[in-house]
């Protein structure tokens, strides 16, 4: 999320909002925002309802669960979707490997291409 805030001036100039979904509860999101100071609209999807609507559930992940103990669980595939003012999908960026994050540079390129 920190890296995303680097794009803030360009996003503001183009009037692009950020809507982000994560698996935290609203309480956890509030705590996280206090820590990271991100300005995006942050939404809660702990049961992966929206993730399933978009068919983005990766069924098997080895990830920290309760009390930080690694467990097998379903999680969203990290994905970024650029939507234009008319509500049309202009760009989809999907991670093939969660340790490698989508670079803000690629978002920048997509924003320019969508102009």
């Amino acid at each position: 999320m920190r890296r995303w805030e680097e794009l803030r001036p360009e996003l503001d100039a183009r009037g692009v909002e950020i809507v982000a979904l994560c698996i935290d509860t609203p309480e956890q999101i509030r705590a996280g925002r206090a820590k990271h100071g991100a300005k995006a609209t942050l939404l809660s999807d702990p049961e992966l309802v929206v993730t399933d609507l978009y068919n983005l559930r990766n069924p098997v992940n080895f990830a920290p669960g309760k009390h930080g103990v690694p467990t097998l669980r379903g999680l969203p595939i990290p994905t970024t979707i650029l939507v234009d003012a008319g509500g049309t999908v202009r760009w989809i960026d999907q991670s093939t490997d969660y340790q490698v994050r989508s670079d803000p540079e690629r978002v920048r390129a997509a924003l320019s291409a969508a102009d």
Binding site: I23, P26, A40, L43, Y54, F62, I81, T96, Y98
Partner: protein, 132 residues
């Protein structure tokens, strides 16, 4: 006696490799600069695991045993995490040039947020894999 000494050296080496590789790996991850090809990191995790196991095989006291166990655990754990890092390949339910799917989800205050409320504005919709 010689075996115990060798075991201690191997154990300390296992931990040193694990720590050095960990510092490098996480500093790259922090900078979002971790490359797709991480064979150097993977080999180093395997080396830490192998050195740790070798320390116990050749015999070691607690002086070598503690770092050997730590090094082997970190190396093995990170290799396991690496095995699980590739994401499933599946087509999203939205396509380029098609309309976005509307939904309602609670915001940080628990209030329902409808995506369609952004109509007329461009936006980036992001799905995060984990927590903030």
């Amino acid at each position: 006696m010689a075996g115990t000494l060798n075991g201690s050296v191997l154990g300390v080496a296992a931990l040193a490799v694990a720590l050095a590789n960990g510092a490098w790996f996480f500093s790259r991850m922090q900078r979002v600069a971790l490359p797709q090809n991480r064979i150097a990191h993977e080999l180093a995790w395997a080396l830490a695991l192998a050195l740790g196991v070798a320390a116990f095989v050749s015999g070691t006291g607690w002086l070598g045993g503690v770092p050997a166990a730590l090094g082997a655990f970190v190396g093995g754990f990170m290799l396991l995490m690496r095995l699980g890092s590739p994401q499933a390949k599946q087509a999203p339910a939205v396509r380029l040039g098609a309309p976005i799917l509307d939904f309602v989800a609670p915001d940080e205050n628990g209030a329902p947020f409808r995506l369609a409320s952004l109509a007329g504005k461009p936006f980036l919709l992001k799905f995060f894999r984990g927590h903030w």
